[in-house]
Symmetry: C2
Subunit: 394 residues, 2 copies
């Protein structure tokens, strides 16, 4: 049987994909079973060793990589047809990522057509439903719309791609809506709150359950040297590098009003402080902190998810970073309805957030603090958004 | 060096992707060189044989798969670091797909974060710019918007996902626009004209060059048993099966007015025949043929790209398929400004389209016929759209 074998019937029918499709194997993987165990299959008759690596693997059996939370390498077993199989124990409801490692070569599972990009890296994904994870699914309820737009940024000298979610019924209601600006991390782009973050589905579900107010989500790209996510810009298909100093220069934060103005002009917003929230994860949490302080009377709701709260230490105390202590005080004097901080106990930014809390305590600022287990992972950020959104615009 | 090694610096900085990202290799692949050769790299120190399979490979060196156009298997060569390398000859400007085959196992290139799904299968992609392919790139010009919407379909008993492109300036112009309904093939869904088809970029570029009129693109899902593309529906992440009989029952075609009504209600269209076009590839070409005949005075422009034009033979001559010869005659008697047929000489539907032409000739229908090289492939469908769109709404 050829690895790239195709179903002959496909070519007999007049309905098919393009002629040069890369075949396909008659194998299903990853299969979520009724008991929430998950079965992985990899066709590799001639391989000596096949493993599955995933953030579902709590037990690290054989992992050459130190320090990466949750990416155990689990040995698969070959059956008589040359298919390597591994079935996990029952998994908690969650969105998971995984890879195969075939004779030491990291590969994707070609039988799972669902691949998510986390900036420069890719992995297969699967979802175990139930509980919290039901918020991440498409359910049989009204759906909002997601629009990929480009806004003009004179300050940054280019048009820039931006993703906008409008809630169910927006197109015909004629009503105005509050806005949550939702920012990604340094290893992300405007698409990741949609893919890994499941933000549009979380909002669809929370709104349908009456737990969150209908709102607009605005997801810009926080890398000022990029006009769009990799593959969506004039740079074409390329492998992006993590960490660019430009991110720390404050230009994204200082020019955020361009994004607010764009949103208020092209969407039916309620353009006031009481109906404006800003939140972000990691670098985006730092952005949310800085932006909400710099535009000191603009946001009534602020969410810091595993925020790069201590990022100011290495930066020049100029521009948006100048006199941050004073700015923070002024922001709270002006009034903030909700200043929400979420962090995992295993997050490498735990201490930075501890320091931020001390700073807030010192000025008598009132904030909400949520400490969870886990580290700097999408699992936490999905939960934080799910818990934060219902608190907005009350 | 660990396969899943990560840059330690990432963990020192407070700006990064999630903690459990799957590392990343310090390897670039596929790299399009200045002379339009392309270099592929695969880290596999312990592998015995690594090959690259792609639709760029005109020369089939060693391909166990008969009958698949263009998917040659080309041997890569291992360097001293265990990285397998292959550099192609200069390639024509085009969007290409490829995979690696490591010791007989089909895998994706984990160093290329750009992966496209063709219904149930996945492959890496790269683009060689220049010429025709410049239409497929994001250029520094105004961009239209792409919205993922859901429309209510009482006839099919569900909400259904649909992709809508609005041209640059739509949001603020206040103007009304013509509409091109653009349909996918049996091995596709509502997303594929955006990914492989590059329809939104082709339109952005043609409109900017003054070659096409600004228009709205409407891209529905033509599988009536699906509410949305795989991964975007309540079925969650699953591997879809090709070929479903429901496709042939005519319900998609018969209820197409729901999609027209939705579009005319929620978008600023010019809701008349002179400003309405319909086109599709393969099964979608069959749909365009049937729909434009069944709604006999609705579309002034029809595009059949590698159309499943002979699909009627195996179907009951009832419903939308009843009396098709008469319907076709009536459609042309009512007047059609453009009936455009494009087919490749190697396409397995070549004869079906030849029969359709004979049928059109028999009733004295005037149509445009474009015969290209190549087969049933996205390369042709991108070209057909690029050639068809400029002819619309003149």
């Amino acid at each position: 049987m050829g690895i790239l074998s195709v179903t002959a019937a496909l070519f007999a029918a007049d309905m098919q994909a393009q002629q040069n499709l890369f075949g396909g194997q008659d194998i299903l993987s990853a299969v979520v079973n009724a008991d929430r165990t998950v079965t992985f299959r990899c066709m590799a008759p001639d391989a000596q060793k096949v493993q599955v690596a995933g953030d579902f693997a709590a037990t690290v059996e054989d992992n050459p990589v130190g320090g990466i939370v949750g990416t155990g390498l689990l040995s698969m077993t070959k059956d008589e047809k040359g298919v390597w199989i591994y079935t996990s124990g029952p998994l908690e409801p969650e969105l998971y990522s995984y890879l195969f490692v075939v004779d030491g070569v990291a590969t994707l599972d070609i039988n799972n057509p669902h691949v998510y990009r986390d900036f420069a890296t890719i992995s297969n994904v699967f979802l175990v439903g139930g509980g919290q994870a039901d918020l991440y699914q498409v359910n049989d309820i009204p759906h909002g719309s997601l629009t990929h737009r480009w806004y003009d940024s004179p300050a940054l000298g280019t048009d820039r791609r931006i993703n906008i979610y409008t809630p169910p019924g927006y197109e015909r209601s004629g009503e105005r809506y509050p806005v949550l600006y939702l920012l990604h991390g340094a290893g992300g782009d405007e698409d990741e709150w949609v893919t890994f973050g499941k933000a549009t589905r979380i909002l669809d579900n929370l709104i349908n359950q009456g737990k969150a107010k209908p709102m607009i989500l605005v997801m810009p790209n926080g890398h000022i040297h990029l006009e769009a996510a990799p593959g969506e810009s004039s740079r074409g298909f390329y492998k992006p590098e993590h960490l660019r100093l430009e991110n720390a220069a404050g230009a994204f934060e200082a020019n955020f009003k361009e994004i607010i103005d764009f949103t208020d002009r092209d969407f039916r917003t309620i353009p006031d402080k009481a109906h404006r929230a800003i939140a972000g994860l990691s670098m985006g949490g730092g952005h949310a902190m800085t932006i909400s302080g710099y535009f000191e009377n603009t946001f009534d709701y602020v969410g810091l998810f595993s925020a790069a709260a201590g990022g100011r230490s290495g930066r020049p105390a100029t521009g948006v970073y100048a006199g941050f202590d004073t700015t923070l005080k002024k922001q709270f004097d002006n009034g903030v309805k909700l200043y929400w901080i979420g962090i995992g106990t295993e997050d490498f930014l735990y201490n930075a957030n501890k320091q931020l809390r001390a700073q807030l305590d010192a000025i008598g600022a009132k904030y909400t603090y949520v400490e969870t287990g886990g580290g700097h992972v999408w699992k936490n950020w999905r939960i934080y958004l799910s818990d934060f959104a219902p608190l907005l615009f009350r």
